[in-house]
Symmetry: C2
Subunit: 183 residues, 2 copies
Protein backbone atom coordinates (compact mmCIF):
# COMPACT_ATOMS: atom_id res chain seq x y z
CA UNK A 1 0.00 0.00 0.00
CA UNK A 2 1.12 3.56 -0.63
CA UNK A 3 -0.38 6.88 0.43
CA UNK A 4 1.20 8.78 -2.43
CA UNK A 5 -1.11 9.71 -5.28
CA UNK A 6 0.61 11.55 -8.07
CA UNK A 7 -0.76 14.49 -10.04
CA UNK A 8 0.14 13.70 -13.61
CA UNK A 9 0.07 16.11 -16.53
CA UNK A 10 0.51 15.47 -20.25
CA UNK A 11 4.07 14.39 -21.12
CA UNK A 12 5.66 14.74 -24.59
CA UNK A 13 5.42 11.55 -26.65
CA UNK A 14 8.94 12.14 -27.98
CA UNK A 15 10.33 11.77 -24.43
CA UNK A 16 8.53 8.54 -23.53
CA UNK A 17 11.58 6.39 -24.32
CA UNK A 18 13.40 7.99 -21.38
CA UNK A 19 10.76 6.55 -19.04
CA UNK A 20 10.91 2.97 -20.34
CA UNK A 21 14.45 2.53 -21.67
CA UNK A 22 16.05 2.10 -18.20
CA UNK A 23 13.98 -1.07 -17.72
CA UNK A 24 11.51 -0.41 -14.88
CA UNK A 25 8.95 -2.92 -13.69
CA UNK A 26 5.54 -1.72 -14.85
CA UNK A 27 1.92 -2.30 -13.90
CA UNK A 28 -0.19 -3.05 -16.97
CA UNK A 29 -3.89 -2.25 -16.72
CA UNK A 30 -6.65 -3.51 -18.98
CA UNK A 31 -10.45 -3.25 -19.07
CA UNK A 32 -12.70 -5.79 -20.74
CA UNK A 33 -16.48 -6.01 -20.55
CA UNK A 34 -16.55 -3.48 -17.73
CA UNK A 35 -14.01 -5.35 -15.62
CA UNK A 36 -10.53 -3.91 -15.11
CA UNK A 37 -7.38 -5.77 -14.09
CA UNK A 38 -3.71 -5.07 -13.41
CA UNK A 39 -0.61 -7.22 -13.84
CA UNK A 40 3.10 -6.85 -13.10
CA UNK A 41 5.42 -7.02 -16.07
CA UNK A 42 8.99 -6.22 -16.96
CA UNK A 43 9.54 -7.83 -20.33
CA UNK A 44 9.24 -4.77 -22.53
CA UNK A 45 11.34 -2.63 -24.84
CA UNK A 46 11.10 0.54 -26.90
CA UNK A 47 10.80 -0.12 -30.65
CA UNK A 48 10.48 3.43 -32.03
CA UNK A 49 10.89 6.98 -30.69
CA UNK A 50 7.89 8.82 -32.17
CA UNK A 51 5.17 7.94 -32.24
CA UNK A 52 6.50 5.81 -29.39
CA UNK A 53 6.20 2.10 -30.09
CA UNK A 54 6.70 -0.37 -27.23
CA UNK A 55 6.97 -4.15 -27.46
CA UNK A 56 5.84 -6.11 -24.41
CA UNK A 57 5.30 -9.76 -23.52
CA UNK A 58 1.97 -10.84 -22.05
CA UNK A 59 1.72 -14.61 -21.90
CA UNK A 60 -1.50 -16.44 -22.74
CA UNK A 61 -1.17 -17.89 -19.21
CA UNK A 62 -1.76 -14.36 -17.83
CA UNK A 63 -5.35 -13.43 -17.02
CA UNK A 64 -4.81 -10.05 -18.77
CA UNK A 65 -4.02 -11.76 -22.08
CA UNK A 66 -7.66 -12.19 -23.10
CA UNK A 67 -8.53 -8.57 -22.28
CA UNK A 68 -5.53 -7.23 -24.16
CA UNK A 69 -6.26 -9.37 -27.20
CA UNK A 70 -9.99 -8.61 -27.23
CA UNK A 71 -9.80 -4.83 -26.65
CA UNK A 72 -6.38 -4.01 -28.17
CA UNK A 73 -5.88 -1.48 -25.38
CA UNK A 74 -3.91 -1.17 -22.15
CA UNK A 75 -2.12 1.33 -19.96
CA UNK A 76 1.51 1.07 -18.86
CA UNK A 77 1.84 2.50 -15.35
CA UNK A 78 5.28 3.04 -13.83
CA UNK A 79 5.51 2.54 -10.07
CA UNK A 80 8.15 3.91 -7.71
CA UNK A 81 9.93 1.73 -5.16
CA UNK A 82 7.31 2.83 -2.62
CA UNK A 83 4.86 0.53 -4.42
CA UNK A 84 7.06 -2.58 -4.10
CA UNK A 85 4.51 -4.53 -2.06
CA UNK A 86 1.74 -3.89 -4.58
CA UNK A 87 4.07 -4.78 -7.46
CA UNK A 88 4.89 -8.15 -5.91
CA UNK A 89 1.28 -8.66 -4.85
CA UNK A 90 -0.01 -8.08 -8.38
CA UNK A 91 2.61 -10.53 -9.65
CA UNK A 92 1.65 -13.21 -7.12
CA UNK A 93 -2.12 -13.16 -7.67
CA UNK A 94 -4.50 -13.55 -10.59
CA UNK A 95 -7.30 -11.27 -11.73
CA UNK A 96 -9.31 -14.46 -12.22
CA UNK A 97 -10.08 -14.59 -8.49
CA UNK A 98 -8.73 -11.35 -6.98
CA UNK A 99 -9.72 -7.69 -7.19
CA UNK A 100 -6.12 -6.50 -7.18
CA UNK A 101 -7.06 -2.80 -7.02
CA UNK A 102 -8.87 -3.25 -3.70
CA UNK A 103 -6.40 -5.82 -2.35
CA UNK A 104 -3.29 -3.74 -3.01
CA UNK A 105 -4.73 -0.25 -2.57
CA UNK A 106 -4.46 0.89 -6.17
CA UNK A 107 -6.68 3.78 -7.28
CA UNK A 108 -8.11 3.81 -10.79
CA UNK A 109 -8.28 7.07 -12.78
CA UNK A 110 -9.99 7.44 -16.15
CA UNK A 111 -7.76 7.56 -19.20
CA UNK A 112 -8.48 9.96 -22.04
CA UNK A 113 -8.36 7.70 -25.09
CA UNK A 114 -8.79 4.16 -23.76
CA UNK A 115 -11.06 2.24 -21.40
CA UNK A 116 -8.24 0.79 -19.27
CA UNK A 117 -7.68 2.80 -16.08
CA UNK A 118 -4.56 4.73 -15.08
CA UNK A 119 -3.14 4.19 -11.58
CA UNK A 120 -2.99 7.21 -9.26
CA UNK A 121 -0.15 5.68 -7.21
CA UNK A 122 2.14 5.49 -10.28
CA UNK A 123 4.15 8.58 -11.24
CA UNK A 124 3.74 7.99 -14.99
CA UNK A 125 1.10 6.34 -17.17
CA UNK A 126 1.01 5.63 -20.89
CA UNK A 127 -2.22 5.02 -22.81
CA UNK A 128 -1.54 2.36 -25.43
CA UNK A 129 -3.15 0.63 -28.38
CA UNK A 130 -2.03 -2.68 -29.90
CA UNK A 131 -0.78 -1.98 -33.45
CA UNK A 132 0.92 -5.27 -34.36
CA UNK A 133 0.12 -8.79 -33.13
CA UNK A 134 2.39 -10.70 -35.53
CA UNK A 135 4.52 -12.24 -32.78
CA UNK A 136 1.72 -12.78 -30.24
CA UNK A 137 1.20 -16.47 -31.11
CA UNK A 138 4.93 -17.22 -30.84
CA UNK A 139 6.05 -15.13 -27.82
CA UNK A 140 3.02 -13.20 -26.53
CA UNK A 141 4.83 -10.16 -27.96
CA UNK A 142 2.43 -7.24 -28.48
CA UNK A 143 3.54 -4.07 -30.28
CA UNK A 144 1.88 -1.06 -28.64
CA UNK A 145 1.63 2.53 -29.80
CA UNK A 146 1.64 5.09 -26.99
CA UNK A 147 -1.27 7.41 -27.74
CA UNK A 148 -0.99 9.68 -24.74
CA UNK A 149 1.52 9.99 -21.91
CA UNK A 150 1.14 11.36 -18.37
CA UNK A 151 3.78 12.12 -15.78
CA UNK A 152 4.00 13.97 -12.47
CA UNK A 153 6.38 16.87 -13.17
CA UNK A 154 7.11 17.31 -9.45
CA UNK A 155 9.04 14.04 -9.33
CA UNK A 156 12.52 14.92 -10.57
CA UNK A 157 14.17 11.55 -10.48
CA UNK A 158 12.64 8.19 -11.35
CA UNK A 159 12.92 6.01 -8.22
CA UNK A 160 11.90 2.91 -10.16
CA UNK A 161 12.05 -0.81 -9.39
CA UNK A 162 13.91 -3.23 -11.67
CA UNK A 163 13.22 -6.95 -11.44
CA UNK A 164 16.15 -9.34 -11.03
CA UNK A 165 14.05 -12.45 -10.41
CA UNK A 166 12.82 -14.50 -7.46
CA UNK A 167 11.70 -11.43 -5.48
CA UNK A 168 14.96 -9.51 -5.92
CA UNK A 169 14.52 -5.95 -7.15
CA UNK A 170 17.22 -3.46 -8.00
CA UNK A 171 16.38 0.10 -6.96
CA UNK A 172 17.22 2.96 -9.27
CA UNK A 173 20.37 4.75 -8.14
CA UNK A 174 21.68 8.21 -8.94
CA UNK A 175 21.68 9.67 -12.44
CA UNK A 176 24.94 10.74 -14.09
CA UNK A 177 25.35 12.90 -17.19
CA UNK A 178 27.88 12.32 -19.94
CA UNK A 179 28.51 14.20 -23.16
CA UNK A 180 26.51 12.15 -25.67
CA UNK A 181 25.25 12.53 -29.21
CA UNK A 182 22.84 9.64 -28.56
CA UNK A 183 19.17 10.52 -28.43
Amino acid sequence: MSDTRFTKIAFPLADVYGLLEPGPVILLTTCHQGRSNVMTLSWLTMLEFEPPLVGCVVSNRDHSFAALEATGECAINIPTAELAQAVVGCGNTSGADTDKFATFGLTRQPASQIQAPLLAECFASLECRVVDSTLVPRYGFFVLEVLEAWRDPALEDHPTLHHRGHGAFMLAGETIHLPSKMK
Copy 2:
Protein backbone atom coordinates in the same frame (compact mmCIF):
# COMPACT_ATOMS: atom_id res chain seq x y z
CA MET B 1 38.79 3.22 -20.49
CA SER B 2 38.73 0.70 -17.68
CA ASP B 3 41.51 -1.37 -16.15
CA THR B 4 39.13 -4.05 -14.89
CA ARG B 5 39.08 -7.25 -16.89
CA PHE B 6 36.64 -9.80 -15.56
CA THR B 7 37.18 -13.55 -15.30
CA LYS B 8 33.93 -15.03 -16.53
CA ILE B 9 32.80 -18.60 -16.07
CA ALA B 10 29.83 -20.43 -17.54
CA PHE B 11 26.50 -19.12 -16.20
CA PRO B 12 23.22 -21.11 -16.19
CA LEU B 13 20.99 -20.31 -19.17
CA ALA B 14 17.92 -20.46 -16.93
CA ASP B 15 19.25 -17.47 -14.93
CA VAL B 16 20.03 -15.22 -17.90
CA TYR B 17 16.77 -13.27 -17.55
CA GLY B 18 18.01 -11.91 -14.21
CA LEU B 19 20.89 -10.22 -16.05
CA LEU B 20 18.80 -8.54 -18.74
CA GLU B 21 15.38 -7.95 -17.16
CA PRO B 22 16.48 -4.92 -15.09
CA GLY B 23 17.20 -3.06 -18.36
CA PRO B 24 20.96 -2.47 -18.52
CA VAL B 25 22.69 -0.76 -21.43
CA ILE B 26 24.60 -3.42 -23.36
CA LEU B 27 27.49 -3.55 -25.80
CA LEU B 28 26.62 -5.70 -28.81
CA THR B 29 29.54 -7.25 -30.67
CA THR B 30 29.50 -8.72 -34.17
CA CYS B 31 32.06 -10.16 -36.55
CA HIS B 32 31.68 -10.20 -40.32
CA GLN B 33 34.29 -11.14 -42.93
CA GLY B 34 37.02 -11.07 -40.29
CA ARG B 35 36.10 -7.59 -39.02
CA SER B 36 34.55 -7.17 -35.58
CA ASN B 37 32.53 -4.22 -34.32
CA VAL B 38 30.75 -3.10 -31.17
CA MET B 39 27.69 -0.92 -30.65
CA THR B 40 25.79 0.50 -27.67
CA LEU B 41 22.19 -0.58 -27.32
CA SER B 42 19.44 -0.57 -24.75
CA TRP B 43 16.31 -1.48 -26.66
CA LEU B 44 16.02 -5.11 -25.69
CA THR B 45 13.74 -7.44 -23.74
CA MET B 46 13.53 -11.03 -22.60
CA LEU B 47 11.02 -13.11 -24.59
CA GLU B 48 11.43 -16.57 -23.03
CA PHE B 49 13.17 -18.04 -19.97
CA GLU B 50 14.77 -21.21 -21.32
CA PRO B 51 16.28 -21.51 -23.72
CA PRO B 52 16.62 -17.77 -23.17
CA LEU B 53 15.18 -15.73 -26.03
CA VAL B 54 15.98 -12.02 -26.25
CA GLY B 55 14.45 -9.46 -28.60
CA CYS B 56 16.64 -6.49 -29.51
CA VAL B 57 16.43 -3.56 -31.90
CA VAL B 58 19.32 -2.90 -34.28
CA SER B 59 18.39 -0.27 -36.85
CA ASN B 60 19.41 -0.57 -40.47
CA ARG B 61 21.11 2.80 -39.90
CA ASP B 62 23.53 1.08 -37.51
CA HIS B 63 26.80 -0.18 -39.01
CA SER B 64 26.32 -3.48 -37.09
CA PHE B 65 23.04 -4.20 -38.88
CA ALA B 66 24.68 -5.70 -41.98
CA ALA B 67 26.97 -7.95 -39.91
CA LEU B 68 24.10 -9.15 -37.72
CA GLU B 69 21.90 -9.87 -40.73
CA ALA B 70 24.63 -11.60 -42.71
CA THR B 71 26.08 -13.78 -39.93
CA GLY B 72 23.02 -14.24 -37.68
CA GLU B 73 25.35 -14.04 -34.67
CA CYS B 74 26.27 -11.53 -31.98
CA ALA B 75 27.32 -11.28 -28.36
CA ILE B 76 25.53 -9.24 -25.71
CA ASN B 77 28.10 -7.84 -23.28
CA ILE B 78 26.95 -6.15 -20.07
CA PRO B 79 29.16 -3.28 -18.86
CA THR B 80 29.39 -1.88 -15.35
CA ALA B 81 29.21 1.85 -14.65
CA GLU B 82 33.01 1.92 -14.74
CA LEU B 83 32.74 1.56 -18.53
CA ALA B 84 30.47 4.61 -18.95
CA GLN B 85 32.94 6.49 -21.17
CA ALA B 86 33.34 3.53 -23.52
CA VAL B 87 29.55 3.01 -23.61
CA VAL B 88 28.97 6.62 -24.68
CA GLY B 89 31.95 6.51 -27.01
CA CYS B 90 30.65 3.42 -28.80
CA GLY B 91 27.25 5.11 -29.12
CA ASN B 92 28.74 8.31 -30.57
CA THR B 93 30.94 6.72 -33.24
CA SER B 94 30.46 4.34 -36.16
CA GLY B 95 32.29 1.15 -36.95
CA ALA B 96 32.32 2.40 -40.55
CA ASP B 97 35.31 4.66 -39.79
CA THR B 98 36.42 3.82 -36.22
CA ASP B 99 38.11 0.82 -34.59
CA LYS B 100 36.07 1.15 -31.42
CA PHE B 101 37.96 -1.60 -29.58
CA ALA B 102 41.27 0.28 -29.86
CA THR B 103 39.71 3.72 -29.39
CA PHE B 104 37.81 2.84 -26.20
CA GLY B 105 40.18 0.25 -24.73
CA LEU B 106 37.95 -2.78 -25.15
CA THR B 107 39.62 -6.20 -25.17
CA ARG B 108 38.25 -8.97 -27.40
CA GLN B 109 38.07 -12.54 -26.13
CA PRO B 110 37.10 -15.54 -28.25
CA ALA B 111 33.57 -16.88 -27.82
CA SER B 112 32.93 -20.62 -27.77
CA GLN B 113 30.10 -20.98 -30.28
CA ILE B 114 30.15 -17.81 -32.39
CA GLN B 115 32.67 -15.67 -34.29
CA ALA B 116 31.71 -12.39 -32.55
CA PRO B 117 34.10 -11.55 -29.71
CA LEU B 118 33.28 -11.24 -26.00
CA LEU B 119 34.49 -8.16 -24.12
CA ALA B 120 36.90 -8.70 -21.21
CA GLU B 121 35.88 -5.41 -19.55
CA CYS B 122 32.22 -6.54 -19.28
CA PHE B 123 31.19 -8.67 -16.29
CA ALA B 124 28.79 -10.83 -18.31
CA SER B 125 28.59 -11.92 -21.94
CA LEU B 126 25.94 -13.87 -23.83
CA GLU B 127 26.64 -15.71 -27.08
CA CYS B 128 23.60 -15.35 -29.32
CA ARG B 129 22.17 -16.57 -32.61
CA VAL B 130 19.34 -14.91 -34.55
CA VAL B 131 16.36 -17.31 -34.56
CA ASP B 132 13.55 -15.07 -35.89
CA SER B 133 13.81 -12.09 -38.26
CA THR B 134 10.08 -11.61 -38.86
CA LEU B 135 9.98 -8.08 -37.42
CA VAL B 136 13.39 -6.95 -38.71
CA PRO B 137 12.00 -5.12 -41.77
CA ARG B 138 9.43 -3.24 -39.66
CA TYR B 139 11.36 -2.39 -36.47
CA GLY B 140 14.87 -3.85 -36.76
CA PHE B 141 13.66 -6.30 -34.11
CA PHE B 142 15.85 -9.42 -34.00
CA VAL B 143 14.91 -12.43 -31.87
CA LEU B 144 18.08 -13.97 -30.43
CA GLU B 145 18.60 -17.29 -28.69
CA VAL B 146 21.27 -17.24 -26.00
CA LEU B 147 23.47 -20.26 -26.73
CA GLU B 148 26.00 -19.79 -23.96
CA ALA B 149 26.29 -17.38 -21.04
CA TRP B 150 29.33 -16.18 -19.11
CA ARG B 151 29.55 -14.17 -15.90
CA ASP B 152 32.20 -13.26 -13.34
CA PRO B 153 31.04 -14.97 -10.11
CA ALA B 154 33.17 -12.62 -7.98
CA LEU B 155 30.92 -9.66 -8.79
CA GLU B 156 28.03 -9.97 -6.34
CA ASP B 157 25.89 -7.07 -7.40
CA HIS B 158 25.30 -5.80 -10.93
CA PRO B 159 26.50 -2.17 -10.99
CA THR B 160 24.93 -1.60 -14.39
CA LEU B 161 24.16 1.53 -16.42
CA HIS B 162 20.61 2.33 -17.57
CA HIS B 163 20.05 4.84 -20.36
CA ARG B 164 17.61 7.70 -19.81
CA GLY B 165 18.44 9.59 -22.99
CA HIS B 166 20.60 12.55 -24.04
CA GLY B 167 23.64 11.33 -22.09
CA ALA B 168 21.76 10.74 -18.82
CA PHE B 169 22.36 7.33 -17.26
CA MET B 170 20.76 5.91 -14.17
CA LEU B 171 23.15 3.85 -12.05
CA ALA B 172 21.94 0.62 -10.48
CA GLY B 173 21.15 1.13 -6.80
CA GLU B 174 20.83 -1.38 -3.99
CA THR B 175 18.95 -4.67 -4.32
CA ILE B 176 15.98 -5.44 -2.06
CA HIS B 177 14.32 -8.82 -1.52
CA LEU B 178 10.59 -9.39 -1.21
CA PRO B 179 8.61 -12.60 -0.75
CA SER B 180 7.65 -13.43 -4.32
CA LYS B 181 6.25 -16.38 -6.23
CA MET B 182 7.39 -14.73 -9.47
CA LYS B 183 10.22 -16.42 -11.31
